[in-house]
Every structure is written in C-alpha cells, then in structure tokens.
C-alpha cells in the first residue's frame, strides 16, 4: 500500500517535471526558462526524497540538501546575470 502510494507520487512528479521541461524548451523569455529550471530543481529534490523512502535508506538526505542549495544559487546567479550582465560586480 505504502509502496503503491509512493510510486504514484513518483509518477505525478515525473509528469510535473515533463511539464516544466516544456516551459524550459518553449519559454518566450529567459526568465520563463529560469523559473522552469528552478521548479525542476525543486521537483528533483522531492523526487529523490520519495525515491529514498521507497528504498528505505537514509543516504539520500545529503543529496536533498545539496540540490536545494545549488538550485537556489543557480537561480540567483542567472537572475543577476540577466539583470546586470554580470554575476559578480567589482566595486
């Protein structure tokens, strides 16, 4: 029963990632693509959490944290890049 519920949520998450991929490929502006990429990162994180629950291990928690941090930093860097034309500015 639990396994069935978890597999169903994996399928739903996969469908959402597919929807975000559509927006990532099509998106008219760069910001659309960035938003889709950020959402894909967050969904990937939750997919890994569900996958870990299915396998019954605790080793994936580090991956969850790292993907969360890297996805946020990536979004921030992209947003700064399209706003000012540089990721880091030297004052």
């Amino acid at each position: 029963m639990v396994d069935l519920l978890l597999q169903a949520s994996l399928v739903l998450l996969m469908l959402s990632i597919a929807g975000c991929m559509y927006r990532l490929l099509k998106g008219p502006s760069v910001s659309d693509r960035i938003a889709a990429l950020d959402t894909i990162g967050i969904l990937l994180l939750s997919m890994i959490a569900v996958f870990g629950m299915l396998q019954g291990t605790t080793v994936y928690f580090d991956i969850i944290l790292v993907i969360g941090i890297v996805s946020f930093i990536g979004t921030t860097a992209f947003a700064r890049y399209i706003e000012r034309g540089a990721v880091m500015e030297d004052e």
Binding site: M1, S16, D32, A35, I42, F72, F78, I82
Partner: protein, 130 residues
C-alpha cells in the same frame, strides 16, 4: 498502528505531488512570466514542503530516524523558494519582459521611471563635478 502511520505519511507525500502537478499545469497554461512565477513559486514550494514533511514523518515513525538534515532541507526550501521567485520576477521586469496584454495595473512602472530619472540626474551631476 505503525502501518497506519506509514500510510498517513505516504498520503501526505501523494498530496504534495498533486500540488506539484498543479504547479506544472500553471507553468504551462498561464499567460505571462509574472503569472507563471506564482505557479512556479507558491504551489511548487508548498508541494515540496508537503513531500519533505511526509518523508520526515515516515522516517520518524517507520525507521525511528529523526533526521535533522531533512528538517534543515525543509527550512531551506521554505526560505529560498520565494526569494528565488522574487529575484527572477524582478530581473524579468527590469529587463523589459512584457506584461500580459490583459493585465490592468502596473504600479512598478512609475516607480521604476522615477528611479531611472533620478539615477540619470545624479550621473549628470557627477559628470559636471569631474
């Protein structure tokens, strides 16, 4: 008893994935980047919070593991999701991405024009002093 708790956490996880599916649907269907960022930021973050909370409860009840890392992940996603969405929408507006043509109100336009005019004036003064 343990089985019921496990099923309860799995149902929470399933609810979170349904929310994520709604956010993907909004990301596809909504008309412009600002409306889409609502779907991408709010409901996706809530879905992930539900999934991670379900995972936390599952590990607590079934495996007797209270994972601080997972709690840290929940707090981190909760804090950074809206910030990333705001940064992205701000960058979109300042690089001139158009609003949906049926949007009726744009409060930021005047404020941004004033700010740009002021910055221009200050740059002129600086050039004169040089």
């Amino acid at each position: 008893m343990n089985e019921a708790l496990a099923i309860g956490s799995a149902v929470i996880v399933l609810f979170g994935s349904v929310l994520s599916l709604f956010s993907a649907f909004g990301l596809i269907r909504l008309p412009d980047v600002y409306l889409r960022s609502h779907a991408a930021t709010k409901s996706a973050t809530l879905g992930v919070l539900f999934i991670l909370t379900g995972a936390f409860l599952y590990y607590t009840f079934v495996h007797d593991v209270v994972s601080v890392k997972l709690l840290l992940g929940i707090v981190f996603v909760f804090l950074t999701g809206p910030v990333a969405g705001h940064l992205n929408a701000r960058a979109a507006y300042r690089t001139g991405v158009r609003l949906w043509e049926r949007s009726t109100r744009d409060d930021l336009k005047e404020a941004l024009q004033q700010e740009r005019a002021q910055a221009k004036k200050q740059a002129e003064i600086r050039d004169k002093l040089r």
